[in-house]
Symmetry: C2
Subunit: 506 residues, 2 copies
């Protein structure tokens, strides 16, 4: 019997299965404006835990690593902002249900954790939203609840509207300062979770009447530029000690933050060649600036797929979806940053690369690079909205081929699959695409560590519950058997040495 | 057949069943220092969601209203603080497991919500811990997740150690300022949740392509002394709109805050006569200062019970528990406030009412009022620790008699049952005491509103999902069918009128 065609098609040199997540958020519209109007779509139920249990159990059926929850704290207010550049209006976000309303993802995790065994949860949380002491408790709690299945996508907030809400109606700090503060926030977070309890600090000695050993707990007395936090951490050490650190910054400081702290790095580009460049750049920074083994950084990008049993069926399905694309929703999403991009004043068929609005023109030229030879109009944008990131349409074999090709060209380690029509789109991925990827060795048939932590699944190694030795946070951990005096001496040296890694200084 | 003795014993005039909750916290030791050493006790598992699912399902079996989660953000550091008055040490809290470690209760709620149908969740959250914008989103999310089974115990933080952790190592603001800030925090919270979305703002109109109606959403543009929050709220209206407001303050400003906002008021006194005084005082304030119908305020106090099939068995069970009382744990808990009370320097049998340490002497004299004729020594405190609040020991009939007597004397509306040995203590309450209380009409045999919200259970009325008309928050709600212009005019008048209710001015 001949080898199945699928096997023969494999053309990537990648030997490990891809890291795959569903990409979602606690909102009716994350990346597919208008699809809530599709009769097949059930995302109106986004606020119910039962909705998310279904998502998580579907992901587990497909042996996905986890669910990646995007989040934002305030409204996408750039579009139709009358030149104010946002965020001073919520009208279009409200009408289109575009990341508005939006619930807190962290509140759903315990329901999902008890309904699954292997699904991990990467949650986007901004360093703007809470004090690091309070946040460290919440994250450690979630790591306890999930048995170590937590990741944290570290963001510094980019929506001007978030600044308005959380900083007394002031503007967000400039990006450089946000990253410097985020870097210090992570330092506090690490020290609370790693340097204040020794691994074996909780002794539960009934005979001696000692619950936790005070000699194995210490104040961190953190005294930084932005935070002063004495500690100790009020939670006992959790299975992973710190969540898997996820990062997505694309600016120079953002790349540095990822190169320093990130274990999973999200790359937001569409073309595999650009993705490869960004991966290489980040790996180079990680190695040269922070002494990390580049293979310890795993890279993900976003993908949408539409699968049919025939190519024609897939295309027809996508064309059906396109009918529900909501132009105002799309423009609201594009204007999200509030950086002055407001497409409301242009006609549907105007060539945006030629208008005299700098924000619109710049956007159109940049957007157009993904579509060589095309004229970028509002109509074009709406019709091609799903593939401004990566979109593959076809049979399972066709899509798997494209994924292989993409992996080969980009060097990516995995994908966050976003949803177009819920639940059809995710169900098709699990039922039709994943078996094909599994056949090719690109998706895992079983979890690397059954019942394991997120980090064990990512690094595919039982016991690998903590960051690798070359990670910045590694030496900040107070290990079993080390006396307080010895640890404090070590820690002092480590912190002195680590000053050269300050993002604000690089 | 003669009427059962139990029925004949009923001596309270109360006609409605009591409001009953379990009283717990995400920690191994809430109110019973040392019991974790009891071989029957399983509270070591406090961090697991399965532990709490068991608690919640047990409560539901007993037709309890809910679980009341205490919380504190930092260490109980007064004891053995070498006269520093706390909070500069964690050693004794660590050793005794006394509210340390402690996880975030809000993270467990979704697991409990999907595992129960009628249990509500009253969670203690400090106005110190998060920005009101962020907090309002978390609370609305929880109200969505639970289908309206949320209560919020509003506290302003009293632990100096919480101030250290969350305010850059500074001291907590003084109590007067904390209450003024909390009052404004509640105002922001109400306006975000009640005044920014009209009840029918989420229209989900697929034909028109309108998810939410922008004409039914508004910015609150809150501009206060401590907070400036533009809004609008990013979550859609939740079943209760705002959680059941729980309050426990005992100082003059605390009583005012409860009288203004509280729906469930927790009274921390032991003697039913003092409880009655506090209830009457709060009701009087509610009526005179805030125009509220005093019957709309429900009062709860804390109780511990030990039940046996015979009186002797109950006493023996309690004596067995007493063996595990941990003196240092008890003193750590007593020294919690960090107000300088440190009993470490005294002998076990010293008469504390005669020492020359003002904090210890004052405590002993006050504590002694509950035990007339007794000499208050450290030994006495440890042996009577469980009844420094209300403790009843005996058969189900005996305890029910005492509860009836207490209810009659105090006018209390219900109890938060705290736990001594988990799970035995709670199991005994549900299996042995509750049937007796049910027989007497003091505990409900069925939920007032099956599948209802917390507020419907509290007020025993289907549809009563929102605060009564005389509650401060009532007129802040934007009701269906009222235009934005009309609502803003109304709201302006209401807010002007409500200025007379400012806690800082009273």
């Amino acid at each position: 019997m001949a080898e199945p065609e699928a096997k023969r098609l494999k053309k990537t040199k990648r030997t490990e299965p891809l890291i795959i997540n569903f990409f979602e958020a606690l909102t009716p519209v994350l990346h597919a404006p208008g699809q809530w109007r599709n009769p097949k779509d059930t995302s109106r139920d986004y606020y119910k835990p039962e909705f998310w249990i279904k998502v998580a159990q579907l992901a587990e059926k497909g042996k996905f690593h986890g669910i990646f929850f995007g989040d934002s704290l305030a409204v996408y207010g750039g579009y139709k902002s009358q030149g104010l550049g946002g965020p001073f209006n919520f009208e279009e976000a409200a009408k289109s249900g575009n990341n508005f309303p939006k619930n807190d993802p962290t509140a759903y995790i315990s329901a999902l954790a008890i309904s699954t065994r292997n699904i991990s949860f990467g949650i986007t949380c901004s360093t703007l939203s809470e004090h690091p002491y309070h946040f460290a408790r919440r994250y450690a709690t979630l790591d306890h609840i999930t048995g170590g299945r937590m990741g944290w996508n570290v963001v510094t907030s980019f929506l001007p509207s978030a600044g308005r809400q959380l900083t007394d109606n002031n503007e967000l700090p400039q990006k450089e300062l946000r990253y410097a503060k985020a870097d210090e926030y992570l330092q506090v977070f690490y020290e609370l979770l790693l340097s204040s309890w020794r691994d074996d600090g909780l002794v539960y000695d009934k005979e001696a009447g000692v619950f936790s050993d005070p000699d194995a707990i210490r104040e961190i007395n953190f005294d930084g530029n932005y935070y002063k936090v004495p500690g100790p951490q009020i939670t006992e050490p959790s299975p992973q000690r710190i969540p898997v650190i996820i990062q997505a910054g694309a600016s120079p400081k953002g790349l540095l933050l990822g190169a320093k702290h990130g274990e999973l790095i999200y790359v937001g580009a569409r073309s595999p060649e650009i993705v490869r460049e960004k991966i290489e750049e980040t790996k180079k920074l990680a190695k040269e600036k922070f002494g990390r083994d580049p293979s310890h950084l795993k890279f993900l990008t976003r993908i949408a797929v539409v699968i049919g049993t025939t190519h024609e069926e897939a295309v027809a399905k996508y064309e059906q979806m396109l009918k529900y694309n909501d132009p105002d929703g799309v423009f609201t999403q594009i204007g999200v940053g509030g950086g002055g991009l407001d497409l409301s004043k242009f006609g549907k068929d105007e060539d945006l690369s030629k208008v005299d609005d700098p924000a619109a023109k710049g956007f159109a030229i940049n957007y157009g690079k993904q579509f060589p030879g095309e004229i970028i109009t509002k109509r074009f944008i709406v019709d091609h909205y799903h593939n401004h990131n990566t979109l593959f349409i076809g049979t399972a074999q066709e899509v798997a081929d494209k994924i292989e090709d993409y992996v080969e060209k980009s060097g990516i380690d995995g994908f966050n699959f976003t949803n177009i029509v819920f639940p059809e789109n995710f169900e098709n991925i699990v039922d039709i695409l994943i078996p094909e990827l599994q056949e090719r060795g690109l998706a895992q048939k079983e979890y690397a560590v059954d019942g394991g932590t997120y980090r064990e699944q990512v690094y595919r190694q039982k016991g690998h519950t903590f960051v690798p030795e070359d990670h910045y946070a590694y030496p900040l951990r107070w290990k079993s058997g080390v006396s307080k005096e010895k640890f404090e001496k070590q820690l002092g040296e480590v912190k002195e040495e680590q000053k050269k890694y300050l993002i604000s200084e690089l």
